[in-house]
């Protein structure tokens, strides 16, 4: 590649990363600002962290959000894995087109539509069946499962398409019953994909504002709903502190995952080299 071109590509990358990360860096910086006026620097201080940690409202919202996120991620992973398996391994079945449509639509559906339609469903169900009589944690969780499972299904689909069917076929040829093959071969192969799906479903749920505001009832405020009600009125230094904590948590988690992956990959490379050396002698 000629040097002029690679300089261009390098500056493109620098610009792109700056665009993505400078706003977040400023968010973190202002959280340590003593001044109440967010963008005006008034000296280093941790007072907004104190405000944040002593707020009962924040703790309640966080607990509720985590609760919803864990239940959502677990159910979404189960349902999404089943859906992904059905779509990749079962070939044609009746209603497959509708199924693929329902799996891929939530990925792009505007949130306002999903939120409104689910709320109207819950109200209609309450009229006809007497359930759910009140809206809150349960309705938010159901709504989150519905869109999260689509993301999990996509991850499982791409993972399954990448894994050759040979292993499953071999197990079947050796007399393994289909269900046994599924539990002994397919699911272990899928485990990393399921973990990725669980984590994605977890963060999607923690991140959702619009759908939760539609299907939630009085008293049930998730963390994004709380953040939104505060930042609507302008800048809030305590929200900057909260953002910093979230960004740090994610960064540490990703760095850890990256480190583990890298170590695993190195181990595999080393094993390969050993094997190659062994074969050569």
């Amino acid at each position: 590649m000629n040097p002029k071109r690679s300089t261009f590509l390098f500056s493109v990358l620098c610009f792109g990363m700056a665009f993505l990360y400078v706003p977040m860096a400023l968010l973190v910086l202002y959280s340590f600002n003593h001044s109440k006026l967010v963008p005006v620097w008034g000296g280093f201080s941790l007072r907004w962290y104190k405000t944040l940690f002593t707020s009962e409202e924040v703790w309640n919202a966080l607990t509720l959000s985590l609760q919803v996120a864990v239940v959502n991620a677990t159910f979404a992973t189960l349902l999404g894995t089943l859906a992904g398996l059905a779509l990749v391994r079962f070939g044609r079945f009746r209603g497959r087109t509708l199924f693929t449509g329902m799996i891929s639509a939530p990925l792009v559906m505007p949130e306002v539509i999903t939120g409104l339609s689910l709320l109207l469903l819950f109200i209609t169900m309450n009229e006809l069946l007497g359930w759910p009589s009140s809206r809150g944690v349960t309705t938010i969780t159901i709504a989150h499962i519905t869109f999260s499972m689509a993301y999990v299904a996509v991850i499982i689909q791409s993972r399954l398409s990448g894994v050759a069917q040979d292993l499953e076929e071999a197990a079947q040829d050796l007399g393994g019953k289909p269900l046994r093959v599924m539990f002994d071969i397919t699911l272990p192969l899928l485990a990393p994909g399921m973990l990725a799906g669980w984590l994605l479903a977890f963060t999607l749920s923690l991140d959702d504002l619009v759908i939760a505001s539609f299907v939630s009832g009085p008293g049930a405020n998730t963390l994004p709903m709380l953040i939104y009600s505060r930042v609507r009125l302008g800048l809030r230094p305590d929200i900057n502190a909260l953002a910093t904590i979230i960004i740090m948590t994610v960064a540490i988690g990703v760095a850890l995952a990256g480190y583990l992956l890298m170590r695993q990959r190195k181990q595999i490379d080393r094993d390969r080299q050993m094997a190659a050396a062994g074969a050569a002698t």
């Binding site: 590649m1 590509l9 493109v12 990358l13 792109g16 990363m17 665009f19 993505l20 990360y21 706003p23 977040m24 968010l27 202002y30 967010v38 963008p39 349902l79 999404g80 089943l82 059905a86 779509l87 079962f90 209603g95 199924f99 693929t100 329902m102 891929s104 639509a105 939530p106 792009v108 559906m109 505007p110 949130e111 306002v112 539509i113 409104l116 339609s117 689910l118 109207l120 469903l121 009229e127 499962i145 689909q157 791409s158 398409s161 050759a164 069917q165 289909p178 269900l179 504002l209 619009v210 953040i227 930042v231 609507r232 302008g234 929200i239 953002a243 960004i247 994610v250 988690g253 990703v254």
Partner: protein, 327 residues
């Protein structure tokens, strides 16, 4: 060996164990023969009930009449005398949407904003995706990770970050006033510009990732062949690389365009009262005005606008996911 019934009677716990065992065998037989059906049926039913049926309810309510009651709309199907169903369909809500200049304007404005944002995302995202593909393999993983990382942090807070940057006493205005370029703050926040910035910032990774996935699979030898045959780099780009990346461009563009059209958080936080977008109007009709039938009609109208791009996306998605494509 099947146990005799009398022993089972003498030892009730053994009987219970036997029943449990039998039940388990029946269940495992059932699972063994019907596991395919079960695997399909569970997620299928969930999506039918919680994804498909709600749309018909929205459709139904969009045709109802607004009432001050709970629920605040008239029943579409009423039991009249006898068993005859009297069906009242009122198209008033839709007629109102079409007559009211404001709604038409809002739809057109939403489409304009999402189209321009999609083009901007493509113009910024394409070179970035290209640069990542051409980066050394070691750096590639880290760069990709940096693109994905914002997904894992809060969308809401990333939009909020721009309030601090664009506000009248925000980072940019402070900086410009400090350097003396301006002496009065420039209005940046609560404008269409702020909304564009917010959408491009939030949706850029959605554009880069499909483009990267597509470019990664490109055959480098094609490009080399073109330049070996004497093609100028620009010619190679426009005749070889660009046409081959069209699937990535389409996927990325749809992933930005569709959700951006119905976006609520960005126009609400960064656009304030100055930028009209349909997602915000829907939310307002519903939350502030409590006019559910109109909110439902707005949702249906939005869906009608987005149905074509959504089907296109699904077409690409299902082609990408075709079983056995990688074998």
């Amino acid at each position: 060996m099947p146990p005799r019934p009398d022993t089972a009677g003498l030892f009730p716990r053994a009987g219970a164990a036997q029943a449990w065992h039998n039940w388990r065998r029946h269940f495992s037989d059932f699972a063994q023969t019907h596991w395919r059906e079960l695997t399909i049926a569970v997620p299928y039913l969930w999506l039918l009930v919680f994804f498909l049926v709600p749309f018909f309810i929205v459709l139904k309510i969009s045709l109802a009449e607004s009432l001050i009651a709970s629920p605040p709309f008239s029943p579409l199907i009423e039991w009249a005398e006898g068993e005859a169903l009297r069906i009242r369909i009122i198209f008033d809500n839709f007629a109102w949407l079409l007559e009211d200049e404001l709604y038409v304007q809002t739809y057109l404005n939403s489409l304009k904003i999402s189209t321009v944002s999609t083009v901007l995302c493509l113009l910024i995202g394409y070179p970035i995706a290209y640069a990542i593909v051409r980066a050394p393999p070691g750096a590639r993983h880290i760069l990709l990770l940096l693109i994905i990382l914002p997904f894992w942090t809060s969308f809401l807070l990333r939009v909020y970050a721009w309030i601090g940057i664009l506000a009248d006493r925000g980072t940019i205005n402070n900086f410009l006033m400090w350097t003396g370029v301006i002496d009065q703050p420039v209005r940046l926040l609560y404008s269409e510009f702020a909304v564009y910035l917010g959408i491009v910032y939030s949706y850029l990774p959605f554009m880069i990732l499909p483009l990267y996935a597509n470019m990664e699979k490109l055959d480098a030898t094609l490009r080399e062949a073109a330049s070996d045959l004497g093609a100028h780099p620009a010619t190679t780009f426009f005749t070889v690389t660009l046409p081959l990346t069209v699937p990535g461009i389409v996927a990325g563009a749809l992933l930005v365009f569709i959700p951006a059209t119905g976006e609520f958080v960005i126009p609400d936080l960064l656009g304030g009262g100055n930028v009209l977008m349909i997602g915000k109007v829907l939310y307002g009709e519903f939350n502030a005005n409590h006019d559910w039938p109109v909110a439902a009609a707005v949702a249906i109208a939005l869906l009608v606008v987005l149905v074509a791009p959504m089907m296109l996306y699904q077409h690409f998605q299902s082609r990408e996911m075709e079983p056995g494509k990688w074998r």
